[in-house]
Symmetry: C2
Subunit: 104 residues, 2 copies
Amino acid sequence: MAVKNDYMIRDLREEELLELADLFKMFADSTRIKILYDLFDGEKNVTEICEDIEMNQSAVSHQLKALKTAKLIKSRREGKSIKYSLDDDHVKTIIAMGKEHIEE
Amino acid sequence: MAVKNDYMIRDLREEELLELADLFKMFADSTRIKILYDLFDGEKNVTEICEDIEMNQSAVSHQLKALKTAKLIKSRREGKSIKYSLDDDHVKTIIAMGKEHIEE
DNA sequence: CTTTCATATGAATATATTATCATATGTTCA
DNA sequence: TGAACATATGATAATATATTCATATGAAAG
């Protein structure tokens, strides 16, 4: 059994800390927050999201990809369009906590 | 009573969305996460934090300032040193939610 | 009152991130 | 099969961010 030599704070390894930071980066951009928050309503396709948040299709697609890579949203094809929806229960909680903080 | 014309998703105004994103930016950097997580233990001065997270004093001070501006930490002077501590109950919850997500 | 220890800060550089533009891919339907 | 529609993607340029270095501020102790 190898000894862990990585840098560590309490029970959090360097590697996990970087992952955590990367996760929170997903919430750290207003376009992405808008998308996530928009999906609180349920499944939507790209065009709908673009209209809701008033951003162009390319920017939205790029951010959807980032959110999907982070496993915060999932997608499925339906005919010509792709439907996106939240893929993690923590998303709502995290955003709710954030809201509570700024509302104080 | 003026009509609100700002961009809005459900009950979240553009302004609040930007604030939310700014808040999450604080968690979106590994140095800042390390500092916050380090402060889970309680009050610490700058030198202690630097040692714990293995970062130089200047970088830590810059980030402490950002965290303080975001009202996530507070400080008080004690003799020559300045003691920092968490200033928001949501910090632990937000980080905990993040941890749960990445551990899945 | 000047030296030492602790922290903060400004400027500069290096790096990361985002939106935009142009274009590619993939689906449906005539 | 080729328009028309929906989405994705690569490259680029603009902007934001973090770290470092040098130095400033501020407290305490001799």
